[in-house]
């Protein structure tokens, strides 16, 4: 918390603030994904689609229907939740690699549809001139204002999620992760909880998408492809998916890593790949697993 408040005071460079803004947007999605993956034990390789639904709904409603950002933002959340609910019912019956393939397929279908429906979405070249978010006369235009808005939302989402984890629902989700069969036998309505957490994580992604559309003011399908979905999952796993904080840690690391690697020009793809590989080989529990291990070692000493 303190770090969040202190950071912009130290760092005045808008470029760095911009990176922090993106980090916040990604964090919104990865917190939801970690609830889905780490707690409920369900993988999704299609979350870019929900991010896209949020961004495109906000973008289209504010530019073509001239709605102001807030109602568009809410409409995006409702729409995304409906889609996630409808997709979730048949999809979450699947298991393991079948679930991975189905979510991946759903993400790809949305991506193809965004490219193909040119009249509506602008096709592959996307569309721009999405208005910025304004609260009364206060327009969220500077990187600092964006930073405050996005991280305030991250804190809210984080608190909500932590609360959820420590509630009855959270315990139910963890029971699904350990064994769905056993959870079912104990009277936990597993399919209900799975769909609920799937919809919740989709809503987080939609919030992130709306913010993204208003911040960048231009959207095209390229930002919502399979690679992005995979990047999100990677962030969660690298950070350590057994924990929401792990997801945050992974997001911070994988957002900063490409920035550090920018100096290496074309070699960045090789260094990025090897870093990922080394983390996963030597820290299969993710970075947060390592932190926990170190802490327990220190505790024993």
């Amino acid at each position: 918390m303190l770090v969040l408040v202190a950071l912009p005071m130290v760092m005045r460079n808008p470029y760095y603030l911009g990176i922090m803004v993106f980090m916040g947007i990604y964090s919104l999605i990865t917190i939801g994904l970690s609830l889905l993956m780490g707690y409920a034990g369900q993988i999704s390789l299609g979350h870019a689609a929900f991010f896209a639904t949020g961004a495109y709904t906000s973008g289209i409603l504010t530019t073509k229907a001239h709605l102001s950002p807030l109602p568009a933002f809410l409409a995006a959340i409702v729409l995304t939740a409906c889609i996630a609910f409808l997709i979730g019912i048949p999809t979450l019956r699947l298991k393991g690699h079948y679930l991975a393939m189905a979510t991946l397929g759903f993400g790809q279908i949305v991506y193809v549809a965004l490219n193909a429906s040119v009249d509506f979405t602008g096709g592959p070249s996307g569309f721009g001139e999405i208005p910025r978010i304004a609260l009364g006369n206060l327009v969220v235009e500077s990187q600092l204002a964006r930073y405050c808005l996005v991280w305030a939302l991250v804190v809210i989402v984080l608190l909500f999620s932590l609360n959820l984890i420590h509630s009855r629902v959270g315990r139910a989700l963890r029971s699904i992760h350990s064994s769905e069969l056993a959870a079912n036998a104990m009277g936990v309505n597993t399919s209900k909880y799975k769909i609920q957490v799937f919809v919740l994580s989709a809503i987080y992604a939609s919030i992130a998408g709306s913010l993204y559309a208003h911040f960048v003011t231009f959207i095209s399908p390229g930002s919502f492809d399979l690679e992005f979905s995979i990047l999100l999952v990677t962030m969660v796993v690298v950070g350590g998916m057994a924990n929401v904080w792990g997801a945050l840690l992974g997001t911070v690391l994988l957002t900063l890593l490409p920035e550090f690697l920018r100096g290496f020009k074309d070699y960045d793809i090789l260094i990025y790949g090897s870093t990922l590989l080394l983390i996963m080989i030597f820290m299969p529990e993710g970075l947060f697993g390592l932190v926990k291990k170190l802490r327990s070692v220190r505790g024993r000493m």
Partner: protein
């Protein structure tokens, strides 16, 4: 189907167009089938979905391009060398990335193979650059007339080679001791290791084998569809789709599903819209999964027992 009717009536040559589309669907579908076979071999012995499978296909094509182009080797010499090179890469991949792991979780394995595919793609970008490469056809490029449609001789080569690979694989798994050991691992790993099968070596072998199959697919498809360093991902995705559609771990299912996806895509591109080509196969896949969650030929009981 309702949408198709007016198009069909309006065209005299409709039957031959459909035949033509099905033929090109079979060509691309056979490549999906090969990639799906590669997925299956590794999945059976390790329960890993190897997301780098598509990169093996890309590497096969790329090695062949270098061997035939700059090095000027004849095709029949270059072919085995290219396959061998990719097989070595697949072996090295297993040794460096999969072998050192102790009790890995399925998700970390997925991320590891994704990281591996990023590395292979990056390596290919350095080795061959970002251009698109082509290969000469194996024999003449003069199309053969078949009923009312035409096919390229290369398509015949592709189908012939794939038929041979599938046949050899079937014989290998059925009649050789190593093949039987691999099937034992697929059925029950702890039991296989109890009767003295070296499971770790089988894992290594399965990576080598599926790298080789991927490389063959890449080599035979390049003359028709060209190759660049980014091509692996989409081929991998379609192959994964075919493997899942056919029921993971079921080689025959993978082959049938590969052809099915290829034909559906080709028909969609020709009759409806090429924009939706890449989506329609996936829509079919999702529909099948929603009705039958373990794929066309998969066993529901087996998928319930698998940990992931």
């Amino acid at each position: 189907m309702i949408g198709l009717a007016p198009i069909l009536e309006s065209q005299e040559m409709s039957a031959s167009i459909i035949l033509q589309l099905i033929l090109s669907g079979v060509t691309i579908g056979s490549i999906y089938a090969m990639v799906a076979l590669g997925f299956n071999i590794i999945y059976n012995s390790t329960s890993i979905i190897n997301f780098a499978q598509g990169e093996f296909v890309m590497l096969g094509g790329m090695f062949m391009v270098s061997l035939v182009g700059p090095l000027n080797l004849p095709m029949w010499v270059a072919f085995p060398i290219a396959v061998l090179a990719v097989t070595l890469i697949g072996t090295a991949f297993e040794r460096l990335c999969i072998h050192p792991l102790k009790m890995p979780s399925v998700l970390s394995l997925i991320i590891i193979t994704i990281a591996g595919s990023i590395l292979l793609k990056g390596g290919a970008m350095f080795a061959w650059g970002k251009e698109t490469f082509s290969l000469p056809h194996f024999s003449t490029e003069k199309p053969i007339l078949l009923l009312e449609a035409t096919i390229l001789p290369q398509t015949v080569w592709i189908l012939g080679i794939i038929g041979m690979v599938v046949l050899l694989l079937a014989l290998f798994f059925r009649f050789t001791i190593v093949g039987k050991a691999m099937r034992a691992c697929a059925a029950n790993r702890p039991a296989a290791s109890l009767v003295g099968i070296n499971v770790k070596r089988i894992v290594l072998l399965s990576f080598a084998l599926s790298a080789a199959i991927g490389a063959i697919a890449g080599i035979i498809i390049t003359p028709i569809s060209l190759m660049d360093y980014e091509r692996g991902a989409i081929l991998g995705l379609k192959g994964f789709g075919a493997a899942v559609l056919g029921g993971l771990g079921n080689p025959m299912g993978a082959v049938v599903a590969g052809f099915l996806i290829g034909i559906v895509e080709s028909l969609c591109a020709g009759l409806i819209s090429s924009h939706y080509k890449d989506a329609v196969g996936l829509v079919v896949l999702l529909m099948v999964l929603f009705i039958k969650p373990s794929g066309l030929f998969g066993s529901a009981q087996v998928s319930k027992l698998k940990k992931f």
